[in-house]
Symmetry: C2
């Protein structure tokens, strides 16, 4: 819908007809807000909607809800649409934007179809989950998958007063963090009362009638009145692939910096594409609303006759679990090794404000840098209020390939309510620069 | 003391003798913390001390308190010291670090010497002010000067329950902000109950006995039981100038990136020096603890035989006034014009978190950019909790000479508790890029 809006801003209805197909009943909502809807922070599903179907129609966008596109024909330059309860039809196009998003991973284990097992990908998922919570008043929740969504949903369940177990097949939560930083997150989760079980793969679900009653794991059965799946997503690129449009090794549709696919006049944007990781210099698929939004905007501007690009990402992400803030950017140590970098890293403890200032809270900052040059490759932060957004300064430094030594000179803001006299980012850079000096011959 | 500590880390007492002279009785304290000591946020003056005299002496640093250096002889390579209550003597040096800090501006008006008129430069000033508040229980405070310190002291007085008037000769508070952004600060101050009087120069003080009773201004006399001066500082470079060491037009001692002055073996660091402003490319004097600390460290590393630099500043600063946060970096519109830039600017309103997320607070972001290239020249933020530290991402972008168009692609962190799907910094960059497009022929 970002692409549609931007194209419409530049080309009026008499110049460009725009038809948008959506399988479900909601468009232009914040999927990232669903955990907060479920937690009760957001009162109404409508609050997550940025722009309603009526508003899009007022812009002269022919939005068709309940209309799944099931095929693309590049030869005919048309899509095949299957409307809910109606007959399939084809719709021609001159320009096509594929914005099919991601496909949530669903476990292929016994009982996976039982009632009470919920995904949280779409607004409809969120509304369904809220109804289940209200109708059934579950007491025990099991969250499967300890990534961002799993953690946010574990928090939501805790805050609703449920007993929460969180399981993951990996030996750490948040696989995008280094193990030592993930340990801080694991400790925080346990401190919040989450029964965190790592290296604990899902084996199946116990059911009674059509309802889930437990989660089977290598460690036995965890009783569950409700199960929430947070197993991540993969790019929903099947429709594009079937049409002969190039899809990369990441599973995302291949696009250039203007969001053009391999097919003339076909664009793609959002969780269905792969983008250039500016540090690894490799294509990567990262499902994140802010990227999707920027990409949609750029595609729409380009279709509208302008010029806009999405140059790539450095892998920035941030999350909150109750009072804890977690952020990362760039490559983890493992990702850097996979991309061929020899690295070193430093971990520094500091405070979010001057140590003497009320509300100074702990912040741990990890820096991963190249072993010979000291070039910043990645950074991770775990802390409390005021910690996480510091990742942005690191993300911009990373964008410019700064070395840790160069970063020690950065003119970051200082006043006692906001930082120690050396901001935690600067302390981290300084420690890394000192460490680098000892590594050199 | 940063320089002394760093030099000592690299050169042990048998290799390098270090003598440090301090006029007062306190070293290594956070002067920036004094307003919070006065406000009651910090319980004890000792809390502001990073390292005590005893700790420095334990490091083998011969720290001499109550010892003012009153002369430097480059020919003799010695300094003349006047100890409190003792006879002057000379002390030889091989290497000298001048870290004389700033001289607070003091008004040359009738009554300026009265009791109850307080500066807040040194820890001793802060302790004296606290005693006055406790001994005399003043009800009405007048703060002279609406810069960072004046505003922080106005807040401190408000929070202690005093009636506060704040006067400034300029027509806006915080002259480092553009007038439109300063208006937001003025509104915030008035909302807090501060009687803010702009374009209102100080004319003198009324006194009874030796005590101040009022502040005379063009608008009449403001009754005052206590007066706090926040008129800024200038570099304390007189000692260096008298010795024939080069001092720049800003009034600060001229140093190179290693903090070397014009005299062989003489270094300078802190508020007494001038540094390169990386945007204006001009020398500038900025009194700020974080710069002073970095400079001292670099000078100490260099004296210790290492290599460290202070490459310059981009003019980042941040301040808090009750619930309001104010930040700036780079050049203001007026500063940019003075440096020869043709500029345009945009002001955007956004929220600190996703609009639907509890605690989403207003943030106003101004961007100043070069008219032809769109290169970022400066940014200013006024908002509430979570607003100000966003200046750091802008400061790093500025450091790298990014254009506003390039900035729209930055991979800044997003999750609903931390930002809207477009971070306010990105919205500001996007608006500026859109504005730039309309300016081009």
């Amino acid at each position: 819908m970002s692409a549609a809006s931007q194209a419409r801003r530049r080309r009026k209805p008499d110049d460009l007809r725009i038809v948008a197909f959506e399988k479900g009943q909601h468009v232009s909502y914040s999927a990232c807000g669903i955990p907060y809807l479920v937690a009760g922070d957001v009162a109404d599903p409508d609050d997550l909607v940025a722009r309603t179907p009526a508003q899009f129609r007022d812009l002269g966008i022919d939005l068709r809800l309940g209309s799944e596109v099931v095929g693309i024909s590049l030869d005919d330059r048309s899509v095949t649409v299957r409307p809910t309860g109606g007959d399939p039809y084809t719709e021609p196009f001159d320009q096509l934007v594929i914005a099919t998003g991601g496909v949530p991973a669903r476990p292929d284990v016994p009982g996976a179809g039982a009632a009470g097992i919920h995904g949280v990908q779409t607004l409809e998922d969120g509304i369904r989950l809220l109804s289940f919570l209200e109708d059934h008043q579950p007491r025990r929740a099991v969250v499967v998958g300890a990534g961002y969504i799993g953690l946010e949903m574990a928090e939501a369940m805790i805050r609703r007063g449920l007993q929460v177990a969180l399981i993951d097949a990996a030996d750490q939560p948040m696989r995008t963090l280094d193990p030592d930083m993930a340990t801080l997150v694991a400790d925080a989760l346990r401190g919040l009362g989450v029964d965190l079980r790592l290296s604990c793969p899902l084996e199946g679900f116990d059911t009674a009638g059509d309802r889930v009653t437990g989660v089977r794991t290598a460690e036995g059965v965890l009783p569950a009145d409700i199960v929430i799946l947070g197993l991540g997503t993969r790019p929903n690129s099947g429709l594009a692939a079937d049409a002969g449009i190039a899809v990369g090794a990441s599973g995302g549709i291949t696009v250039d910096r203007r969001l053009r696919t391999s097919a003339e006049g076909v664009w793609a944007a959002g969780d269905c594409v792969e983008v250039l990781h500016l540090v690894s210099q490799r294509p990567t698929a990262i499902a994140l609303g802010t990227h999707a939004n920027k990409q949609g905007r750029a595609a729409g501007i380009n279709i509208g006759g302008g010029y806009a690009t999405f140059p790539g990402v450095v892998g920035t992400a941030v999350s909150k679990i109750c009072a804890y803030e977690v952020a990362r950017t760039g490559l983890s140590t493992a990702e850097a090794a996979a991309a061929g970098f020899a690295t070193f890293s430093t971990v520094t403890e500091s405070t979010t404000r001057a140590g003497y200032f009320p509300g100074a809270l702990p912040i741990t900052t990890k820096i991963i840098a190249e072993r010979t040059t000291g070039r910043l490759l990645g950074a991770q932060i775990v802390g409390q209020e005021g910690a996480a957004k510091r990742i942005d300064a690191l993300a911009v430094a990373l964008w410019h390939g700064m070395t840790v030594e160069e970063m020690t000179g950065l003119d970051l803001s200082y006043a006692p309510p906001f930082a120690p006299v050396w901001d935690p980012v600067l302390i981290a850079a300084r420690k890394a620069a000192e460490q680098l000096a000892t590594l050199k011959p």
